[in-house]
């Protein structure tokens, strides 16, 4: 059997799982299970949010190690579920590494993604329905929806304009969202500025990162938990920075 190829498949699969937003223990366990189902021993897997190291010992006592650096990772549940399915299937069937590699390569371009229009519908719906939870009315909901829609446009289409830096992207988006909320209230469509702003900002709040970090620290992955917490705090600071601009303008008016 070609152990190099097997190692490549396992590492790539772990990488994709991480890109889909899986927890560290899920990535480590999936890679471990995949390799051990091929009858290997001496498997070591180590993962932190932006790095994955996998090491195996072939039956000829030859150690092989592969490291992958994972750059940006968001949350993509469909990718996560498909990779998890594939991993489970590979563990049961253990096809030759070449076949497994082909299956993994075929998975990536063809898994389902929502069109930008549908994602924008999501960006409208989330803030619009958050307002009743914070005590807002129908008109506040419409305002929040519009501001969220603009925020979604910025995130989905404005990649080149606002740059790839995550911190500044979040800051700019939150500034746009809260400024629009302010504008809509000034125009007279919205009534409750605080409620609208909070509802819009819920789109950017790092709730996922924070809960993931808490789950990981309970699971014992302290390093990745700290890194994710730092990420969440950074995003929170960016949101605050963006909102401060709108607040300052609002107080000037």
């Amino acid at each position: 059997m070609n152990y190099d190829k097997l190692l490549n498949v396992a590492t790539e699969l772990g990488c994709q799982l991480m890109a889909g937003g899986a927890e560290i223990y899920r990535v480590e366990e999936s890679v471990f299970r995949l390799l051990s189902s091929y009858g290997l021993e001496g498997i070591e897997v180590f993962a932190i949010p932006n790095c994955l190291i996998v090491s195996i010992t072939t039956p000829l006592e030859h150690p092989v190690t592969r490291m992958r650096r994972i750059s940006g990772h968001g949350t993509d549940i469909e990718l996560l579920e498909r990779c998890n399915d594939l991993c489970r299937r590979l563990c049961q069937e253990t096809p030759p590494p070449e076949v497994a590699q082909a299956q993994l390569a075929a998975l990536l371009p063809q898994y389902r993604r929502y069109s930008r229009q549908k994602a924008l519908a999501g960006y409208f719906l989330v803030p619009a329905c958050f307002t009743p939870l914070y005590g807002g009315g129908i008109r506040d909901g419409i305002c929040a929806g519009l501001a969220g829609f603009a925020l979604g446009l910025c995130l989905l289409y404005g990649q080149k304009l606002i740059g790839g830096n995550r911190f500044f992207r979040t800051a700019i988006c939150s500034a746009i969202g809260s400024l629009l909320a302010l504008l809509l209230v000034q125009v007279g469509l919205g009534q409750n500025l605080d409620t609208i702003t909070i509802s819009v900002l819920m789109l950017l709040v790092p709730g996922m990162a924070l809960t993931n970090a808490m789950r990981e620290i309970m699971a014992g992955d302290v390093i990745s938990s700290i890194s994710r917490t730092a990420e969440a705090i950074l995003t929170g600071t960016a949101i605050a920075l963006g909102t401060v601009i709108a607040l300052a303008i609002g107080q000037g008016l």
Partner: protein, 149 residues
């Protein structure tokens, strides 16, 4: 009536997040259901920190059992269903107090927000761990084959 309306809104919020995070088919409805259950528990407990804990536990139980049934990773359901409970208003007001220089209010708001987030995470983790330790026994009892979540 108001409570029902709010639960419906929480459901739609989660469905919207499901669209944003690329979740398909039945998953959207499951996330919506989880969100509604969480908000119902949270509101019946009068929105205290303990009710947030209970709501997170309820969501975790719901999504763990659904994930077992569908043989999908629990991550997506759990994370998205928890999002309506994230204390967004606390974060916003804390930031506002900080900018306005009201440091006493800032610290008290920040502390209650952190407490809220921690109780959410703790509730979800506790329920998940209990479920994971109890579930294999039930599954064994039924003589069905157990697999990883």
């Amino acid at each position: 009536m108001n409570l029902l309306w709010q639960c419906l809104c929480a459901c739609v919020v989660c469905m919207g997040f499901a669209l944003v995070f690329n979740m398909h088919d039945l998953g959207i409805l499951i996330c919506g259901g989880g969100g509604a259950i969480g908000w119902l528990v949270y509101c019946t407990g009068n929105k205290t920190i303990f009710s947030a804990f209970a709501a997170a536990a309820a969501i975790a139980l719901f999504s763990e059992s659904v994930a077992r049934l569908r043989r999908c990773p629990v991550t997506g359901y759990l994370m998205i269903s928890l999002l309506p409970l994230v204390p967004g208003s606390g974060i916003y007001y804390a930031m506002r107090h900080c900018v306005l220089g009201e440091y006493d209010l800032f610290f008290s708001t920040l502390l209650s927000t952190v407490g809220m987030a921690a109780s959410l995470a703790l509730g979800a983790m506790l329920a998940s761990s209990v479920f994971r330790s109890v579930f294999p026994r039930i599954a064994q009892h039924r003589n069905t084959k157990n697999s990883s979540p």
